[in-house]
């Protein structure tokens, strides 16, 4: 061993100090060259087994591949995970980075091609979770074989998962593509930044989304269409944060750029709609009206029924803000017509809700109730619990005005129950406070106090200290108003009078 130790010392001295992968390079140098080469190949996929090893090194027979896997499983850098072997992260990262170097490009490409074919065969015979995992792995190797095709597959999978709001799955896909960061061509890099920006926005990570979208818009080498979309997204994220000025600026930049290109998939009417909503929410209602109407006009030119429906709905909300409830109703009804054409019943539920609110503005309570109920029915069918809770909350006010007190309380309690089920604590607090006010109007002081106290607790739980304080004040005002009922006062006065008269009577005697 002493000679061996000396040899080992010598080998260690030869390695560059602090170099990454030094230990793995030493190991590979001592291994049988064929085995070492095969181990390097095993760093291309994230997991491997005998069939994958044969796809990596087609010259191997099944028996040889089996034997090699057993040998590799004894190495410290390899561990077993559910019938597959996995290389330790650190070693895998180092060896994979070598594969991305230009001198290995051709071999890397052909190996990935074989892996794509391998996974395609497995996908054909899989189902459920396993299919998803295999699709991810196929996408990863498709990127290695053909960047454009691989990236298109990434976009397809990402779009599919975003539509189902499976953001975790989107994040996983992003992480896989990131392994190719150092070799992605600029256009793909730009598209990648755009997708990551969308994901960050979905996760409400505003600074991150801002940074990524700005990376896209600042890069003049990228296609104009992508920059239009990025500008528009910047407008949306600033609007979410109620930074109206910046939101307007970015939407306008999107519009200006959109005018310079033909065949942009993001049409002007979409951008105009977003801009119109920003003006509406920031208070410039007349400007908003012009933009939303323009959006309807352009959406009609493109036969975009969904776009027309959405714009009419937004116009409806605008008219409500302007206090023009009749016009709002017309706009909502037009929106419904188009939604029925495209059979979008879920959005119809929202528009029914808005119609209910518009009729409530006009104090036409029966009609208001009718539309809230229609909204409720669709939401019940769709098992949209939060949606139902909001509509029940709206119905409370309607029933109160129809003097249907029991129904009002029931609706309020339903809203509270559903908000609680969904752990939407702020909404629960608001609904509980509404119930407290309802009880107060009914002169049911005890129940009102209980509900106010609960509402205060809930607002505090959500860190809404201002709202908690306001609610506390309402509770205290209620307590101050509480005194003895009038008949008790009358009884006391009569009693005192009786005592006085008795005393006078006795004295006169």
């Amino acid at each position: 061993m002493d000679d061996l130790l000396e040899d080992f010392r010598r080998l260690l001295k030869q390695l560059p100090k602090g170099a990454p992968g030094a230990s793995i390079e030493l190991l590979l140098a001592q291994m049988d060259p064929v085995a070492a080469r095969q181990l390097r190949f095993c760093a291309i996929p994230h997991e491997f087994n005998a069939p994958i090893l044969r796809a990596l090194c087609p010259e191997m027979s099944a028996v040889q591949a089996d034997k090699r896997c057993r040998e590799f499983s004894r190495l410290s850098i390899i561990s077993g995970k559910q019938d597959n072997l996995v290389m330790h992260d650190e070693s895998h990262r180092y060896l994979f980075s070598q594969w991305l170097e230009p001198q290995n490009a051709s071999e890397f490409k052909s190996t990935n091609k074989r892996l794509v074919e391998f996974f395609e065969q497995l996908i054909a015979n899989s189902e459920g979770n396993e299919t998803e995992t295999l699709q991810r792995r196929r996408m990863f190797h498709l990127l290695g074989y053909h960047r454009e095709q691989g990236f298109a597959e990434f976009e397809r999978l990402c779009r599919l998962n975003r539509r189902q709001f499976r953001l975790s799955e989107c994040e996983s896909l992003v992480k896989l593509v990131q392994e190719y960061d150092s070799v992605l061509p600029q256009t793909l890099s730009g598209r990648f930044a755009y997708h990551r920006g969308k994901l960050a926005a979905d996760l409400r990570q505003w600074p991150r989304a801002d940074q990524l979208f700005n990376r896209v818009v600042d890069n003049m080498e990228l296609p104009a269409e992508l920059r239009v979309k990025a500008y528009n997204r910047l407008g949306i994220i600033y609007a979410e944060q109620r930074n109206w000025k910046e939101a307007i600026e970015f939407h306008q930049k999107a519009l200006e750029l959109e005018k310079t290109i033909t065949g942009c998939t993001l049409k002007a009417h979409h951008i105009l709609h977003e801009l119109g909503v920003v003006y509406r929410d920031s208070g410039d209602l007349r400007k908003s009206e012009k933009l939303l109407q323009k959006s309807v006009e352009l959406a009609s030119k493109h036969d975009d029924l969904e776009g027309i429906a959405v714009a009419h709905n937004s116009l409806g909300t605008l008219y409500r803000k302007l206090g023009e409830a009749r016009q709002a109703i017309e706009a909502y009804e037009r929106s419904l017509e188009y939604l029925n054409c495209i059979n979008d019943k879920f959005r119809s539920a929202q528009v029914y809700n808005n119609l209910g609110a518009a009729y409530a503005d006009l104090r036409e309570w029966e009609k208001s109730e009718l539309f809230f109920q229609k909204s409720l029915n669709v939401k019940r069918e769709a098992e949209d619990i939060l949606g139902q809770a909001h509509t029940y909350n709206n119905l409370t006010r309607v029933y109160q005005n129809l003097k249907l007190v029991d129904k009002a309380i029931n609706a309020s309690q339903q809203a509270i129950g559903l908000f609680t089920e969904m752990r939407a604590w702020y909404d629960t607090a608001v609904a509980t406070r509404n119930l407290a006010r309802l009880y107060r109007n009914m002169q049911n002081v005890y129940s009102s106090q209980e509900a106010f106290r609960e509402a205060v607790k809930l607002f505090e739980q959500c860190n809404e200290s201002e709202k908690a304080e306001e609610t506390q004040k309402e509770l205290m005002t209620l307590s101050r108003k509480v005194g003895l009922p009038w008949w008790i006062w009358l009884a006391i006065i009569l009693f005192i009078l009786f005592i006085l008269l008795s005393i006078i009577g006795l004295l006169s005697v």
């Binding site: 997991e47 979770n129 990863f140 769709a382």
Partner: protein, 296 residues
């Protein structure tokens, strides 16, 4: 033939204080969560394997969720894995809710194939009625796609499923201890991390799962809220020291007279990183094999 787990356990050195913390966790007490973190190759997964072995020795039920580059369990997959490891039959209500939120007109259809005829209970003599004999065990597949005829928001689906799952888990662990291991948590997506911290670990705060313990391993320390932090024990894994490396070399079969010198060499080259130490020792043994082969 020795398995990988057996090999890892046989070569395991140091980390006594972490094992003590784990045993305290099992004993019951204030701490319900154990967090282990450290850089790449410092031995987190090996320590986890040692803890899992401890559970097996004490016949404690365990569930294991591991993240990797291609396997990225989200909240649904985490619940599914815990369910499967703890005994899927105890989570019927959760499974029903999961399927109702996933498959429109859900109807379980299974094609059962067998190379020969399937005979159940052949030759069995039964005195009284024993009820039905289940000849084929059907494991419930997990449907992950949301229903297209419903407008349920993902957050709503998450809340409802989590609630149901926690209830079933509480019932399933009423009289048994369950330890849930999470490995490579740095790979969790943001959404999954929020769910784990707020929904799953949050149950410890509310004492909804008194017989469940969590062990989390990752490269970075997970930030928990103040109330949950009180219930957590933390340990950062450090590189090995000289005597640990000597101990490791002994377990790897290095001759006694060379251990100290080799350990010093390895300490300088690796700064005590267990993975690099192990790789270098593998390299040393390959070198020895090569020498023997060449001289033979």
């Amino acid at each position: 033939m020795i398995t990988e787990i057996e090999r890892r356990l046989a070569e395991f050195v140091d980390r006594e204080s972490e094992i003590c913390l784990f045993c305290d966790l099992l004993r019951g007490g204030e701490k319900r969560i154990l967090m282990i973190w450290g850089g790449g190759g410092v031995g987190k997964s090996s320590l986890l394997a040692r803890m899992i072995h401890e559970c097996a020795k004490r016949k404690i039920t365990k569930a294991e969720v591991v993240w990797s580059s291609t396997r990225n369990p989200d909240y649904l997959a985490i619940m599914g894995k815990i369910r499967d490891d703890a005994g899927a039959e105890k989570f019927k209500a959760f499974a029903d809710l999961e399927n109702s939120l996933s498959g429109s007109g859900y109807e379980l259809k299974m094609k059962v194939e067998s190379p020969s005829s399937i005979q159940v209970g052949q030759g069995v003599r039964m005195k009284d009625s024993q009820g039905k004999i289940v000849g084929i065990e059907i494991n419930e597949p997990t449907f992950v796609l949301p229903r297209s005829d419903q407008a349920i928001m993902e957050s709503e689906r998450m809340s409802r499923l989590t609630d149901r799952f926690i209830k079933d888990l509480a019932e399933a662990t009423k009289s048994v201890l369950l330890v849930i291991f999470f490995d490579a948590i740095e790979r969790m997506t943001e959404e999954t991390k929020n769910w784990v911290c707020n929904e799953l670990l949050g149950t410890e705060r509310e004492n909804r799962l008194p017989n469940v313990r969590f062990v989390l391993c990752g490269r970075k320390r997970l930030c928990l809220d103040r109330d949950t932090q009180i219930l957590a024990e933390e340990a950062e894994l450090h590189p090995l020291e000289l005597e640990d490396i000597v101990h490791y070399l002994e377990k790897r079969g290095v001759e006694k007279n060379n251990r100290e010198a080799l350990a010093e060499l390895l300490l300088v080259s690796t700064h005590g990183n267990p993975l690099n130490i192990a790789i270098y020792v593998d390299g040393l043994f390959e070198l020895r094999r090569k020498k023997i082969h060449n001289s033979g």
